[in-house]
Symmetry: D3
Subunit: 163 residues, 6 copies
């Protein structure tokens, strides 16, 4: 059975010692999505052009949110992030907004949580910007898509453990 690294042998939470791990380039990509009615989605797609840039505000919130990851997630190590990008795309088939966040660092531990936090904060911000129009929106499918770097190598959701 897999071991929960965030607890010691006594079952007490700790911030695990990564001081012996190699400094390598790390990358993680995560996604999230906000499901809404076609009418609400129209507010976004029209708004971007002329009434208010929902996606621009959410993108910035996601970038800034990724920098707060170790503040939010109790056992996360603080990391010097070297890149954050967020793509927010209207998707009429959802209908809603699809979010993809990519984070890089060069360090001793991965940036999965930074990418997931960026995507989540962007999704929450989309909700906040549109909640006056629709309270029933739903944030769905927040998950890790890909992870590179570190001893465990590449993880890709389309098939684990590539190398």
């Amino acid at each position: 059975m897999a071991e929960l690294t965030h607890f010691d042998e006594g079952g007490n939470a700790h911030m695990v010692d990564v001081s012996g791990k190699a400094v390598t380039d790390r990358l993680a990509t995560a996604e999230s999505a906000v499901k809404m009615t076609p009418e609400t989605l129209a507010l976004v797609t029209e708004g971007t052009a002329k009434k208010g840039d929902v996606l621009g505000v959410a993108r910035l919130a996601g970038i800034m949110g990724s920098k707060k990851t170790s503040d939010l997630i109790p056992l996360c190590h603080p990391l010097p992030i070297t890149k954050v990008t967020l793509d927010l795309t209207p998707d009429a088939s959802l209908p809603g907004i699809r979010i993809r966040a990519t984070v890089k660092t060069s360090g001793q531990t991965g940036v999965e949580m930074e990418a997931l936090t960026a995507a989540s904060v962007a999704a929450l911000t989309v909700y906040d910007m549109l909640k006056a129009a629709e309270k029933g929106m739903e944030i769905v499918q927040t998950r890790l898509l890909r992870k590179e770097g570190g001893k465990s190598g590449v993880y890709d959701i389309s098939g684990e453990a590539q190398s």
Copy 2:
């Protein structure tokens, strides 16, 4: 068509003026869930008893996260929260962890974002605690369940606009 209150007439983002709104008791309840394999869920349910309290750590992260809402969501007003509770429940039928967050304040604007942020940060923390065991977990169905207080009255997901 509904108006996006976070933008002015020129389409520029602003923190909307709530100074004219009444101070009323406000409550919001939100939920989220983390879907995982039965094997990962077993780590949580066994761990709570003897190996490490995943749910206790996530609960605390959610409570502390709700206090950072106005820091994370660009156009949110800072609010003096008067109560936060988080319930985290293992659900074998998911399989995974169900999260429910309730936040109260007495103020001029609602606490939907505080409740949604609490639930999201708790879900991210569950992911973080368990990711050594399973990277493919997914955060699903983050949404507002209920909102009370303010001019718009009660919103309940089971049927809007009660009073």
Copy 3:
């Protein structure tokens, strides 16, 4: 000679007691400006349309910055801000960007520092966004334009002590 309220009789810094002051509606407006070459200004005005929204990013930074005022300014009281707006306007005669920030609260102390901080953080962000093009930009004339509320009444830069 005026008294420096942030020090006690012994000359020690303290956060002054405002518990006896009335809760009144408070408003403050501050301005700042970033001076640059006409070529750099052209990057902003063209960029807003098609290459990147410098002013939108700076506006958001200013709004979020105003919420951190009591974190940045040692003796500032934390305040429940009820409104923040920022106007950023290209001005060919400067040449550069003019920034105006307005903040409101209902409380026991004024929001001058919140408005000045919002304007300053927006100005710093304009600098950051454009520094790859021009390092010699200058932030000029950050000052309070107007203040309403509290015992001292209205202050307006165009002529003090109106009422």
Copy 4:
């Protein structure tokens, strides 16, 4: 025409990838100034001796502010600062307070924004400490004086592109 590095080809804001840049010693010096009446300046110069240390408080605020730069400026990378100094000097010819901030790091990106933020927060704090005496003070001439390190080499305001 210079390129705005904080936007991608689609014009979307991102935190630019610095992971491929060399880790070098970086230094930046910025200045700011707070202009006031001779009477207000006298409060500072006399106060330092016996009534309250305005410059000491502002110096500390500037140092602490520089550590919050990546929190305030949306697209700034978090950086492990290795040195911060602030000089605050009364200048009767202004009249007012001149501020100079120097920041160092060893990293993949420069510390211009950290130095400018340190100077700005110190200036705002000077304003806060003295606003009971004079609301009409003005923060002037916040600008970068010098930058060392990184691919672009030395920038000095007295004549660009030394090497």
Copy 5:
């Protein structure tokens, strides 16, 4: 046996509901002390005059620390503090520095933790400023001296439950 209000009936941590409590004036005073050798204490007392203001820096750190209390203590409510003072006094009989912090608010819950946090952060800062001279210093006797306001009335360490 007294009840631990920070846990619900199931033993789960929560931020307790204070929304039904009266808004009253609240005050708390706490103390702490840093014990050191007479030689180290001499560095402080001489330094205040001419080499560096240890007590001034620690005082400011304590004031700013009190504003971070709800960020640091997981189940603390965020509170609009209306006053913070810190007295730091060299005491040759300790030998060392005695710290006393007083915090006020008008709210639904007390400010004991804000006063204790202010005193603790000031004590840690004294340690930091002097640790190059002496690593063996000790922070002793951090405790609540007095509390006013709220249903439980006055608590004073010299004899509980005055009224």
Copy 6:
């Protein structure tokens, strides 16, 4: 006489330049303790089993607090912490809770303040969780036990300057 490194020759506070110091592995261990009545201690020891996990909450607060050290202590350098552990042990002979915190980093400056801050925040949180039962608790003996790494080598409280 030892020199206070946090001040320059003019007696002004600064964040000392560590850019020339070697990057070495650093470790620090600190302790603190919360003294209480046997009745209050019984609430903790019984509560851990069935009524609420005081020590688990305090442990997490200490871990998260260590990450805020450079935010709290004005002249501390921000550091990429690589490990934090906290042990909290009931001690009937105190009577009360003993706290021990260990922090590691690989950097240019030590982590004494991070370990002391972790221990202090955990102690404050123990107080907060139990103050409904006993206001007279006291935080005692917060001190550095051991420090490794850096030019000054090993410090151990049981006898300085081992190597």
